[in-house]
Amino acid sequence: MTDSSDHRLPERERPWVMRTYAGHSDARRSNELYRRNLAKGQTGLSIAFDLPTQTGYDPDHELARGEVGKVGVSVAHRGDMETLVEQIPLDQMNTSMTINATAAWLLSLYIVAAEEQGVAPALLSGTTQNDILKEYLSRGTYAFPPGPSLRLIADMIAYTVVEVPKWNPINICSYHLQEAGATPVQEIAYSMSNAIAVLDAVRERLGDRAADLMGDVFGRISFFVNAGVRFVEEHAKLRAMSAIWEQIGRDRYGVSDAKQLRFRYGVQVNSLGLTEAQPENNVYRITLEALAVTLGRNARARALQLPAWNEALGLPRPWDQQWSLRLQQILAFETDLLEYPDIFEGSVVMDGLVAELKAGAEAEMARVAELGGAVEAVDYMKAALVESHRARWRRIESGELTVVGMNRYESTEPSPLTAGNDGGIMTVDPAVEAERRAALDEWKAGRDAAAVTRALDALAAAANDPNANIMDASIAAARAGVTTGEWSETLRDVFGEYRAPTGVGEAVAVPGEDLSALREEVERVSEQLGRRIKFLVGKPGLDGHSNGAEQIAVRARDVGMDVVYEGIRLTPAQIAASAVQEGVHVIGLSILSGSHAELIPSVLDALAQAGAGDVPVVCGGIIPEADAAALRAAGVAAVYTPKDWDLNQMMRDLIGLVAERHASPV
């Protein structure tokens, strides 16, 4: 750079990788979508898998019911993966896969699909999300207990750093922490603590080779970050993360190479703050959030994917995603953003914010370290997140925090954007599930059964041998035609299953809340019943987004109800058994994966069969109005969507419902 142009770059910088988080139904339909998106100027792929694939179940498993192909593409074996990337040259593609518990498996399928294209593993570039701790804390698509899960991650890193050197084997996610309510300080502290837990595990796994490889390993760890609408502070957060990351690399792992020390991150901006009310306003929010991660060159995202304006309404359509991609392109190619060096260099405000966040995060990291590190501190962090989320919600309810169109400036003209026949969202063809089951049977019939058995035996042996790397056996299993469900079941048998903490038990009541009127109402109705109102909060299906259910459970507790909350991933039979055995007066079901139309009627059936058909059921989630009407017709007492943000009103409704339905206790 010459002296005369300190404030300009010698040439316009190359933009970040532009992606759209996409995938639905089956591999064939998703492949068509990817190729259309790439033709529109998208420069990388971001694969959304459906929940059965993410949690390790085949399309024909009981828990997969209603979830197949819903929030992403269903990939059950190597044939699906090959179809998914057909005509997309994998040596030229940068592919991000949102996959965690089953990451080792999906990477194996990807490696085998590349083999089929004649592409060697060393040429593959991309990212597997592979961050299990945040699954326990927020997202819920875990499969195995913490110990074995960390081992799988360490295996993948030890494998890719040598065999797939351009691959980012893990994306440490602060994204989902913010979605779960994390403050910027918590987001930094918990994600960094999480990275330390992973790196420590890898160092141990590498043993003698650690001295040679730790620098490479550190350089391959990337982050997946969130950005909310407070975009100035959010930018400062990324600068603070950069600084802390470099410090960790130097001090804890002895890394000195500047390139390896660089904080590399991809972004999906905030979904938590997107509103169902006046959804067009979300476009502005997304724009401002995109600025948070691109404005300052010293902490600019490597890859960006933006949500669509209608995410609080349902699944976005290809057009909605195109609109978000165009925003990235305008930012990168029309504006002058990429012509300058870091624009915050020397800014008093930015430096002050960074110092503040860094100090706060370091204190919180010390706390997690005191508890024995991120794995041991999962309960603590989960409870802290539930607490923060609740504080945020209270500020929205009190009006202290303004959300335009939701708790302020609510009057609106009818939106033409949602006026179409589809209600402005995409719906997955319900026939997909049956198609996928049939396709699975066909795949299984066409395999060499003996080879499959041998591959699964070898996989079990590798899982049982702490010195083996799971990747070799997984890649061999992928080649043999093993399915996602078979791979996972084999590992579940060896590692056991796990339920993450719900975080709600530890949540204390926020002082100063005026809930006394509601409490009195609960007391009054409870006295009439002769028994305290008992409320079951259930999450049927595989959807792990439990933040909303948790907030409702805590609020119901705070107004005086006995609340049975069992966490995520319940079958209709489990919910019905709990309702009967616990003797609850009312049931609330939460589903955000779009599978409400299948799952809620199944729960109603299960309740009727268990003799509890008279217990009123309400449900909440991202539920389009047409579906809501169908659910009410099927017997659901009330349907709540993100626009029903007033939890106290919801509590009033519940109390009223109990009073009405149990008017004369028999």
């Binding site: 207990p145 110990g147 309960d379 060896v494 590692f495 056991g496 299953e497 339920r499 719900t502 709600v504 038990g505 949540a507 009541a509 809930l515 409490r519 609960v522 007391e523 019943l529 002769g530 028994r531 305290r532 459970a553 805590v554 119901a556 507790r557 705070d558 107004v559 005086g560 109800m561 006995d562 609340v563 049975v564 909350y565 069992e566 966490g567 079958t571 039979a573 489990q574 019905a576 058994a577 709990s578 009967v580 055995q581 616990e582 003797g583 609850v584 007066h585 509890a612 008279d614 217990v615 149990h662 206790p665 028999v666």
Partner: protein, 326 residues
């Protein structure tokens, strides 16, 4: 939801071994309307040792310990262990509740892994209510009644130093669960704050040396208070779970060594007195001439009587004493 049903019908169902009666039994026992309380008293009466002609056959086990030691995981394994032997299990999980609002979050059943289709396993979570670390008011009654139909009734409580005292008043056998490195329990034991449990369970036995040292420390602490009869069992719930069969063996051995009738009788009398005090407080106790007089009166009552009738007798005596006042 079916509320309190006719007590006689529920008693009949339990006597017939109909485990699906359990939810309705709990609903009834938890309901505080006068009609429900009368029906609950009738139910207890119908299932009293006098009417049964013996003590209820089910084994009542208390499992208690500090939060986070792995009680729920242990209960999953324990329930699976009993089920593998063909025995039915009822678990009464008592959660600490939020005192401020009176509400509670009952999350325990989520952590107790079981097959929801298995009718031989019943799990009910209850808030401890006002009584910190102790039992929910209905839990004592529920345990005694469910023991008529279930092979095993487990009462799970949280805490250490207090909760096992109350559980000991209702369970045949009390198991205190600790994890390696929990110094509190050692201190409590040595200082006599904590009553000596019938069985001590050390979880996370997979921790190897740490767990072995914990076992040695516990043995030493037990010796120092002269409790040599308490078995210490190490369990691990990391698959494959270990120690569960040994634990079941220790629980069985304790029960076999027990004068069950005497322990249950003591439990019923303590329960009746606790219920009376809960209802009538210190003034009620004074009317009876104090705690010792009340205990003496209970000691005179027929051994096979149920708790509700014992409580009613104390109430009559207190009313009589008040009436005789000048």
């Amino acid at each position: 939801m079916s509320g309190p049903g006719p007590a006689a019908a529920l008693a009949r169902r339990l006597l017939d071994g109909d485990l699906t009666a359990a939810p309705a039994v709990l609903n009834l026992l938890e309901t505080t309307t006068p009609a429900a309380r009368a029906a609950a008293a009738e139910l207890l009466g119908a299932l009293s040792p006098t009417r049964l002609g013996r003590e209820a056959p089910g084994q009542v086990i208390g499992v208690t310990g500090p939060p986070g030691v792995g009680k729920s995981t242990l209960l999953s394994e324990l329930a699976a262990g009993y089920r593998a032997r063909g025995q039915s299990v009822a678990i009464l999980a008592v959660d600490p509740s939020s005192k401020r609002s009176g509400g509670s979050l009952l999350g325990d059943r989520a952590r107790i892994r079981h097959d929801p289709a298995d009718r031989q396993v019943f799990i009910r979570s209850t808030a401890a209510g006002e009584r910190l670390g102790g039992l929910a008011p209905a839990t004592r009654a529920a345990a005694s009644v469910l023991a008529v139909a279930f092979d095993v009734v487990v009462i799970e409580t949280v805490g250490v130093g207090q909760s096992e005292t109350e559980v000991a008043e209702v369970a045949d056998t009390v198991a205190v669960v600790v994890q390696p490195g929990s110094g509190d329990v050692l201190q409590f034991l040595k200082a006599g704050i904590m009553e000596t449990p019938d069985v001590l369970v050390v979880t996370k036995a997979d921790l190897g040396r740490v767990a072995q040292r914990a076992m040695a420390d516990l043995h030493a602490a037990l010796r120092s208070v002269g409790a040599t009869g308490t078995q210490v069992i190490a369990v691990s719930s990391i698959p494959p779970a270990t120690g569960i069969d040994k634990l079941i063996g220790a629980l069985d051995a304790h029960r076999d060594s027990l004068d069950l009738a005497a322990r249950r009788l003591r439990a019923r009398r303590a329960h009746a007195l606790a219920d009376f005090i809960e209802e009538h407080g210190a003034a009620g106790l004074r009317a009876l001439g104090g705690r010792r007089a009340a205990e003496a009166q209970l000691a005179d009552a027929d051994a096979g009587r149920d708790v509700a009738s014992l409580t009613a007798e104390l109430e009559r005596a207190a009313a009589g004493a008040r009436a005789r006042r000048p």
